[in-house]
Amino acid sequence: MTVKVLAFGIVRDIFGGSSIDVPLEPAATSATLKANLELRFPKLAKLSSYMVAVNNEYAHEPVELHPNDEIAIIPPVSGG
């Protein structure tokens, strides 16, 4: 399957755009996605931290991904 991954803040700079398509095996999880992205974008692993959000919720534990999920990479937030 292919998932679309949204990027914000510094991750948009790292991806070179506000979203990318990522080919993944069926039933891949948010953890698989992170590993996949870190191979493709080594700068991602150099951030203080980052989270995957699936359908507007932080994936604190690995969650299974589906093609229509809204998936986003959340670098360290700095609002306020």
């Binding site: 510094i10 203080s48 937030v77 700095s78 609002g79």
Partner: protein
């Protein structure tokens, strides 16, 4: 009442305060974030705020809901701005009313502290000689 807003327009502080007034409330605490002219001794020209809007709104609401679960409150207003802000402009206003002041103070502080930890909003500091996404790197 919970009033959440994420907007590209300037925040209206007075409006936020008017919204939390209540005849049952005895204390209102208001936190106003402002853009500082310097960070770590370096002059800041402006800040650029970006939000993952649907999730930011959802996380802002979660924080307000949580605060209502912890303290006896009347109203919470939580407004955050996005886009380009000059020094002195206001990225965030939080207003909380409660019957007693301790709850208003505690809740207001909890809301700004938690917002800075969980709400997907990012700021880029722009200097004379470059720019940096705040908190991105160790």
């Amino acid at each position: 009442m919970i009033d959440i807003l994420l907007t590209g327009e300037p925040l209206n502080i007075n409006d936020c305060i008017q919204k939390v007034l209540a005849p049952e409330a005895g204390g209102i605490d208001v936190f106003i974030g402002t853009v500082r002219n310097a960070t770590k001794g370096k002059q800041v020209l402006r800040l650029e705020f970006e939000a993952y809007e649907p999730m930011a709104l959802s996380e802002m609401r979660k924080i307000a809901d949580k605060a209502f679960g912890i303290w006896p409150l009347h109203h919470i207003v939580l407004h955050h701005r996005t886009g380009i802000l000059a020094v002195g402009e206001v990225p965030v206003v939080i207003a909380v009313s409660a019957a007693h002041r301790a709850a208003a103070f505690d809740a207001c502080r909890y809301i700004i502290d938690t917002l800075k930890e969980t709400v997907p909003i990012w700021k880029k500091e722009v200097f004379e000689d470059g720019e940096v996404w705040v908190a991105a790197h160790p």
